[in-house]
């Protein structure tokens, strides 16, 4: 029975000036799957995050299941949307948790990904997301970028870590 390994490849923490995006580059091609975990908050009301692989912004699609504490809904679209983290509207100094799993990132087939995230808010409403996504591209993934494409900015102390998963 193979033993999968879970290795922290790189991590970063946002400084006092904030950041509009976090871009993991030069990703090693020696793992089977990739995981990014983010503890994050936006300094503005905009907390909608978008992803891109290899700086490519085309040929993405996704299906979203969303709950807010009282109701559930689903949406779909052909874009890079990957849910929200805490915005300036959530309780001060709280951070949302967000994780993406990208299996077989070096394959020449299209790349699927799944996302599990939840906001933290001391109120009756906090959003939770489950997202299934697809990037229709044959290139191996060498970079992953998380960004706000409107006014959002990652707040100080937001932390993202890229992990590699290897089956040995």
């Amino acid at each position: 029975m193979p033993s999968p390994t879970y290795v922290a490849i790189a991590t970063t923490t946002v400084g006092s000036g904030g950041a509009s995006s976090i871009d993991f580059t030069s990703i090693p091609q020696t793992y089977t799957d990739l995981v990014v975990r983010l503890s994050g908050r936006s300094t503005t009301a905009d907390a909608d995050m978008y992803i891109s692989f290899n700086s490519n912004t085309a040929n993405y699609s996704r299906r979203v299941l969303r709950g807010n504490g009282s109701a559930a809904s689903s949406t779909s679209g052909s874009d890079r949307y990957v849910g929200t983290i805490d915005s300036s509207g959530e309780t001060a100094s709280t951070f949302g948790n967000w994780e993406i799993y990208v299996p077989n990132y070096t394959t020449s087939n299209n790349k699927s990904y799944s996302i599990d995230s939840v906001e933290e808010n001391n109120a009756t409403q906090a959003f939770q997301y489950m997202i299934a996504g697809l990037w229709s591209n044959s290139a191996a993934i060498t970079s992953i970028k998380l960004e706000f494409i409107a006014a959002g900015t990652f707040a100080q102390y937001s932390t993202a870590t890229l992990y590699g998963i290897k089956s040995s």
Binding site: A10, G18, I149
Partner: protein, 71 residues
């Protein structure tokens, strides 16, 4: 000036870089496109919900009964 963080996984080093004017313009264009896509998506979801409620009404079901049926 907005900045971006670039994490080089081969070295583990994070570099903070200011966005160029071109990147800022692209960001604004992307934001407009995303807002339009989101509005279209919400309109489609609202239309679908209205259609469901119309069907429920034809069947003599309330919105709550329809929700119970499919939850």
């Amino acid at each position: 000036m907005p900045t971006k963080l670039i994490v080089d996984c081969s070295t583990g080093v994070t570099t903070e870089v200011e966005l160029t004017a071109e990147e800022i313009a692209q960001r604004e264009a992307d934001a407009e496109a995303a807002a339009q896509a989101k509005a279209d998506e919400e309109a489609a979801a609202a239309a679908k919900q209205a259609e469901k409620e119309a069907i429920a009404a034809r069947l003599g079901l309330s919105a709550e009964e329809l929700s119970t049926l499919f939850s």
